[in-house]
Amino acid sequence: MVNLIWVALLLIGLMFAGINGTIKDVNEAMFQGAKEAVTISIGLISVLVFWLGLMKIAERSGLLSFFAHLFRPIAKKIFPEVPSDHPALGYILSNMIANMFGLGNAATPLGIKAMEQLKQLNGQKDEPSRSMITFVALNTASITLIPATVISIRMTYHSASPGEIIGTTFVASLIATISAIMIDRAFYIRRRKKGGM
């Protein structure tokens, strides 16, 4: 699926470049995009090192499994395949909490850790497990309490009330998250009927 999308984006882009005569822009965009990707990755190093270092302490001290324990009832319903005291649940929950507060930078390394744990649970296979799909789906919707970036843009353009969209954003993201869980469940049932995974 991702292979197809990737090739399609590039080929359709190149085709349009021929039709529209935008080949010059496209050439520039190619290298700009590559550069941006490396900049993002390098920029992630500082945050990843710091957060993963801290989270290692939390993992060793048992704080993560304590968190997992606390939210066990909800998480168990959403991730039925993860054992209830597994560190993956702790990472999943801390990732969700970081996302809620608009701490995207803090959420990413936690999410990656969660994925590593889920992969271990899945016997290091190359295919995503059911829990991985659920987790990633939850992250693409992600409940938001504080959309920090948007608020700062609204402030820049002199909004009378920059924070007034917190309510609408929260409700929209909450409903999106609930829908993501339901859609994910529906796809899982469909997969099982087909006899896959």
Binding site: M1, V2, W6, L10, G13, L14, F16, A17, N20, T22, A29, G33, A34, S41, L44, I45, W51, L52, G53, L54, K56, I57, R60, G62, L63, F101, A106, G111, I112, M115, E127, F135, A137, T140, A141, S142, T144, L145, P147, V150, I153, Y157, S159, P162, G163, I165, I166, T168, T169, V171, A172, S173, I175, A176, S179, A180, I183, D184, F187, M197
Partner: protein, 177 residues
């Protein structure tokens, strides 16, 4: 509002303090554990590079060639009957694909129509209420070396669609046109 501002400012420091206190209390070798965990961070960041380069180049080419604008112009007439302002349609399409591109669009919409207009509020809500699905998938699956995405992309995109529709309804309901 002040409570939320206070919380967002103090959340990270409080989490850090909690982790350090709890670690020390449980006699974890804190500094050594920190360094050990940090090393993993470097590895992860480097292994991400090829995934991000591949995806961002493709998206940039698609946008710069004018292909994106072309598809948007076809989708526009389908949406106008529902009362959706066509100005936000490109944003809804680009939101799951590129976070920086959509942020650029939101800034542009807010600058053009004003932050307190219907379009400004709707754009703000759309931007804030979902994550960049393609980026999340690329980073999370990429970091652990999974190449197949299974149903994750479909679920993510459908959830984005729901979020977009809900944003429209909620903004309309709370602020009116």
């Amino acid at each position: 509002m002040y409570v939320i501002q206070f919380l967002s400012l103090w959340l990270i420091p409080m989490v850090i303090a909690c982790i350090l206190l709890h670690g020390t209390y449980k006699r974890v070798p804190t500094y050594e554990a920190f360094v050990e965990g940090g090393k993993e961070g470097i590895q992860i960041a480097f292994s991400l590079i090829p995934y991000l380069v591949g995806m961002l180049v493709a998206v940039s080419v698609f946008r710069a060639s004018g292909a994106l604008d072309f598809f948007i112009s076809y989708i526009k007439p389908l949406i106008i009957p529902f009362g959706l302002p066509p100005e936000v349609v490109p944003l809804a399409i680009i939101r799951p694909i590129s976070g920086t591109a959509s942020l650029g669009m939101v800034t542009d919409l807010i600058a053009t129509y004003g932050p307190d207009s219907f379009i400004g509020r709707l754009a703000s809500t759309i931007q804030g209420s979902t994550e960049t699905t393609l980026y999340v998938l690329t980073v999370y699956f990429g970091a652990v070396g999974i190449r197949k995405m299974g149903d994750a992309l479909k679920v993510g995109l459908l959830a984005d669609l729901v979020s977009f529709i809900v944003s429209f309804i909620i903004v309309l309901w709370m602020f009116g046109k």
